[in-house]
Structure formats: structure tokens, C-alpha cells
Symmetry: C2
Subunit: 363 residues, 2 copies
């Protein structure tokens, strides 16, 4: 999707891909297959680029530092990116700049988790490996000391967080350029099922103007303080007592911003590119009163064409985005977007199409 956004701007993309079959490798004209964990591979690749950016945060920080020291324009830079790579570093930094977060601390072993539980008012407690988590992986909700053992098995530092009673999850997406120009998208509601985002509603329905402004302001402050360049997604809890607390950060185009392709004047992908190229940022405003994005998860259809026939015929306004991934159960293989004035109608249409493409709805 970033490649698509680059085409009209004349941005020639070069892709470093794990395999020749990755989604991006299927549509990008200039692909190098190689391992992003290998500094020599990164160095040779970067030598042919003006600017290097990412679609995930797993490139080792030390390699990015090495490239930066050799004069490569790596954006966002390793100093910023490590706060998206390491949840322990992120929590420590957000505490320094007084951004509201769930209570948290690094824990050494299960008995230390029990001590943390006592400090925050009891079980359950959320445990996260500080690195490598994704889509609910690397996150556990544990109810006693015995359950708290599993997260330590990976040998990665573990962060404990209070389990916040929340009304719903929100995301504040902002984009910041090296100049320090920044734009904020409307705050969205992100509906999670089994730790995976199923639906994003833009803007978040019924969110008070005060909380919306606070969420945008927190995201812009994080972007500025951490010197983020490009798209920053700040995932938030709206607590049952009406506060917002930061849950996670992502420094790249993010699932909670996919609605912007069809629903905003300038998509997160284009604004991410503009930022890493230090071009002026585009208008982040919504193009419709409501836009709902629903993720298509892998299901019963290895072949999408018959499902397209039904979905397109049922809803000519439906926007379909498939990623060219092999269909595996539960994997995000695409998304659909619907915009309109009537939220119930828009949600029903997006959910129906996502369910039909997955195979859980058959009529």
C-alpha cells in the first residue's frame, strides 16, 4: 500500500523483502530478496537508496545505528524506532514526558509478577515480552503466579502492566516530518476480537471533543518528544472512568489508519512517504462523515474471485483491498472500507463484506 501511494508522486520504490512472494514483492518492480537482520545485506541495499524506511519494526536497532553512522538516511531514525521496538524503553520514555500509561514495570520472574499484582490492586495482570510482539502474540493476561511463568520462557525481558478497566480501544494517528510539521488524523475506535483488530471506525463514535483533542495532543507530543519521522500510531485505552492511557506505539503506517486510503483526503501511506522525504504533509481530514474499515481474516476461500462477485454485486460502494497473502486461518489477508452518513449502515456493510470474504457469512 505504501508502493501504491508512491506511484503518483513519482517515488521509485526499491523493496528489501524476506522472500520473492511477500505481498509487496508481488507488486513492486524493483525487489531485492534478503534478510533484514543481516547488516551486510542492509548496507548493500541502502547504498542504492536515497531514503530507507520500514513496514515493520523488527530491523535490529544496532544495524540501523550503524547505517545512520555511515550516513544513510534512515527514517524514522533508530533513536525513535527503539521506542516502538522495545516496550520497556517505551514505557520508561513515556513516563519521563508524563504521558498517561497503565501502571507498569519490568519484572524478573513469576514471584516478581505476584509482587507487581499486589502493588496495582491484585490479579489479573498483563504481561508482555518487551520485543517481538504482534497481533496479540507476546501478550498474556495472567491470573496467578503459576500462569505468569510462560512469558519468561522466551528469554526476553518481560513487562508487567495493570489490567486497565476500559470502555474501548482508540487510536490517534499522526504524521511528523523532519521539519517538525505534523498532521493529526481523526481519533478512531479500534474494535479488537481475540487480540486482533477486527474493525476501525473513523471517527470514534461519541468520543467527547475533550478526549479527542487530548488523544491527538498526546500523539503529537510523543511524535515531537521522540523525534518520530513518518506515521505514528498511538493505541489507547479509553478507561471506564473517562481517561485515556497509551497502550502501544507503532512508527509506520498502521492497521488503525488503513481507513485513510479511501476515507481521508491524504492516506497515511502517502503522508508517511511525504514525511520521510521531507515534503509538506497532506490534508488528513476525513472525506465522509463515517468510514468503517473491517479486516478480512483468512478463512475458507483460498480463491477470492467467487466471493468478489457476491460482495461487489451486493455493494457497489464497497472498497476492497487484498494483500496477495496466502490465506491462512485468522491471518489478516486484506481489508474492506465503506463510507457514508449512516454509521449503522456503513458498519453493517463493512462487516458483511469482511465476513463474506472470510467465509463466515455465506449469504
Amino acid at each position: 500500500m505504501t508502493h501504491q501511494a508512491g506511484i503518483p508522486l513519482g517515488v521509485r520504490f526499491k523493496l528489501l523483502s524476506d522472500t520473492p512472494h511477500d505481498s509487496a514483492a508481488q507488486v513492486c518492480g524493483d525487489v531485492v530478496v534478503g534478510d533484514y537482520r543481516d547488516l551486510e545485506v542492509l548496507r548493500a541495499f541502502a547504498a542504492t537508496c536515497d531514503v530507507v524506511t520500514f513496514d515493520h519494526e523488527h530491523v535490529p536497532t544496532e544495524h540501523l545505528r550503524a547505517l545512520r553512522e555511515e550516513g544513510v538516511a534512515v527514517l524514522p531514525g533508530p533513536e525513535a524506532l527503539r521506542f516502538a521496538q522495545d516496550k520497556g524503553a517505551m514505557r520508561a520514555r513515556l513516563a519521563e514526558i508524563a504521558v498517561p500509561c497503565p501502571r507498569n514495570r519490568l519484572v524478573a520472574d513469576p514471584s516478581d509478577v505476584a509482587a507487581f499484582a499486589a502493588e496495582v490492586g491484585g490479579w489479573p495482570v498483563v504481561l508482555k515480552t518487551t520485543r517481538g510482539g504482534y497481533d496479540g502474540k507476546g501478550v498474556w493476561v495472567v491470573h496467578d503466579e503459576r500462569q505468569a511463568a510462560e512469558p519468561f520462557q522466551a528469554g526476553v525481558p518481560v513487562l508487567a502492566e495493570e489490567k486497565v478497566p476500559f470502555r474501548r480501544e482508540l487510536a490517534a494517528n499522526v504524521v511528523r516530518s523532519p521539519h517538525g510539521q505534523a498532521v493529526a488524523y481523526p481519533v478512531v475506535e479500534s474494535v479488537q476480537v481475540d487480540g486482533v483488530c477486527s474493525e476501525v471506525i473513523a471517527p470514534a463514535p461519541g468520543l467527547s471533543a475533550t478526549l479527542a483533542a487530548e488523544a491527538q495532543s498526546v500523539a503529537l507530543r510523543i511524535a515531537g518528544e521522540l523525534d518520530v519521522v513518518g506515521h505514528l500510531a498511538v493505541e489507547l485505552f479509553e478507561t471506564t472512568d473517562g481517561r485515556i492511557l497509551v497502550n502501544e506505539l507503532a512508527m509506520r503506517p498502521h492497521n488503525s489508519g488503513h481507513w485513510t486510503i479511501d476515507g481521508a483526503v491524504t492516506s497515511q501511506f502517502e503522508n508517511h512517504l511525504r514525511a520521510v522525504l521531507d515534503l509538506p504533509l497532506g490534508d488528513p481530514r476525513p472525506r465522509a462523515r463515517w468510514t468503517v474499515m473491517a479486516n478480512v481474516l483468512g478463512g475458507d476461500y483460498p480463491e477470492m474471485y467467487p466471493a468478489f462477485l457476491h460482495c461487489m454485486a451486493r455493494d457497489p460502494g464497497l472498497r476492497i483491498h487484498m494483500y496477495g497473502k496466502d490465506v491462512k486461518p485468522g491471518r489478516k489477508v486484506g481489508h474492506v472500507t465503506v463510507s457514508g452518513d449512516d454509521l449503522d449502515d456503513v458498519r453493517e456493510r463493512a462487516r458483511h463484506a469482511a465476513g463474506y470474504l472470510r467465509g463466515t457469512i455465506t449469504e
Copy 2:
């Protein structure tokens, strides 16, 4: 732009390109370089595709017929496409189905042109080569028999047409699928400068509902009668006495439909693809009250980046589409689109950006 539209639908594109440097070849992952006039090249290429379509109408009709006879899905088919390739055949066919056109006939030589001029009320007369014209090339407005000699020099049959007094040029864009499903975009005004489209306004300002419906109806009828599959652009004159007459046909995504990328729910490119794949068509309705597309012509800037800085900073809502072509004076190298509620504002912004990118406006 068709490749871009195919990505989200999971349509894997294979491109037959004249050279490795063509616009599409720069962004498409799977490119075969070859000559579209060579049947063997076409045959080998087509053997690797499910469906073959075009972005220009110059592939020889006889080659398309040969492919079709060999079982290749060529869409639009040669029977339809020849009416976009040969203006003489087009005029004859439109006469058969009683579509209003300027008076016209094939002419044999300059003295025959003089006879035609006398029949239609005198000079000037418009002469067109029946094949191979583009962007004002292959079209002459001649004022006497001496001037009428030039068009015959190419050795291609020449069509004479009355020079219609017209208020403005319009375009009716429709898309039709093999099923016979069709959608009609709003009728647009196309502003021409020196035979080249400079600006398209969607919808055509002040067009009566009657004429708009008539224009859409004419375009849908042509698509049906000629068995067009895919996008059909019908370029029209709105005459000073309030009629519409068909000027040209194009059976592919067309410059008069570029506004649909940003300005309609479903772009002409996506609907063209849906049609050639026999998928249900998408909603053609506009997403804003007014959308203006202005072509960027080649000018003083071989390098666009400095111009981007100015244009993007001045107008965050501006949508820029560059084609990756070498910049040559007067060549269409991109377009810009602006949408909004105030037509004067939208036009000014689109014109300013197109002029600045060309280098004719410098502040």
C-alpha cells in the same frame, strides 16, 4: 494508473511495453518488452495471461482478431475496438444507430474536400486521418483547398467533418461489462487548449439535466450497440444551439476520466478492470460537489521535487499524479486533482498547481 487500481483487487498485472522505460514499466513488477505490432510477440505474451486489455488503441485490429480466433480473451474485442481505431468506421457505425454526429464523409482529395465544404455551408472544414491521431495530431482545420492538401500526405484515408459551432466540449464516460451491466459517470466539461485537454470539470457546470441525461444515454447506447467491454469515453460537442454531437470515442481509461481516481467512489481504472474481468461494477458517483483535474504539461522542470515543495505546502488538499515520463515541452507528464464545494476555488487551485509544476507560474 490501471496497475495501481489492480493492486487492491489482487489483479496481478503483466505488461507488454515498447521500452523498459515506459511509465507503466517503471512501477509494474512483471514487464515484457516487445513490439505490439508483432503478432508473434502478442501471441507469446497473451499465452501467459487470463485476459488482455490496452491503454491505447494502436494494436493492429487484424492481430487482435487472430488472437481472438485462437481463444484469447481480448477485451474490448477487435469488433468493438475498430470503431475507436478507425474514425471512418466509427462515423459509419454511429450513423447506422442514429447517434448525432457532425456531418461528415470520407474524402478522396483536396477538390473533394472543397465539394464537401460546399455541401455543409462553406469553409472551414475539419479534416482527420482515420487512424493514428492523438492529442490534436492527425486533425486539421482547413480554410481552403490549398490547405486541404496536407492531411492526404500520410497516405491514410481522410475524413472531412463540418466545423460545428460549439459552446464547449463535454465527455460522457461509461463502463460496460460482458454481462451488459453498465455504469455512467457524471458528464464532465473538457477544456481544450491548442487541441490538448488542459482541464476537466466534474460535473460539467451549468449543464442542463436534459442534456446531461442525453449525453449519458448516448454513451450507454454506443457501449451497448458496439458491444464495448471496459471504459468508453465519448467526447462531445455542446453546440451553440443546445445540441450534443459525438466528436470522438476511446475504449480505455481516458484523460477525461482521470478525475475519478480522487473524485469518484470507484475510479475509471478500477471499473475498467472490473469490466474486463466480468466483475460487478463499482459506484461511479462523485465524492465531492466539484472535482477539477488539470493536466500537467512538460515545461521547465526536469526535476519535480522543488516544485512539489511549493505546491504541497500551498495546498495540502492537492492530489498530485505524475506519470514518470521524461519531461518534454507540451507532453502530458501528470495531472493534479482538487475537490471541494466552491468551483472557483477548486479551479484556481488546480490551475495554479498545474501551472507551477509546468513552470508557467512561478509564485
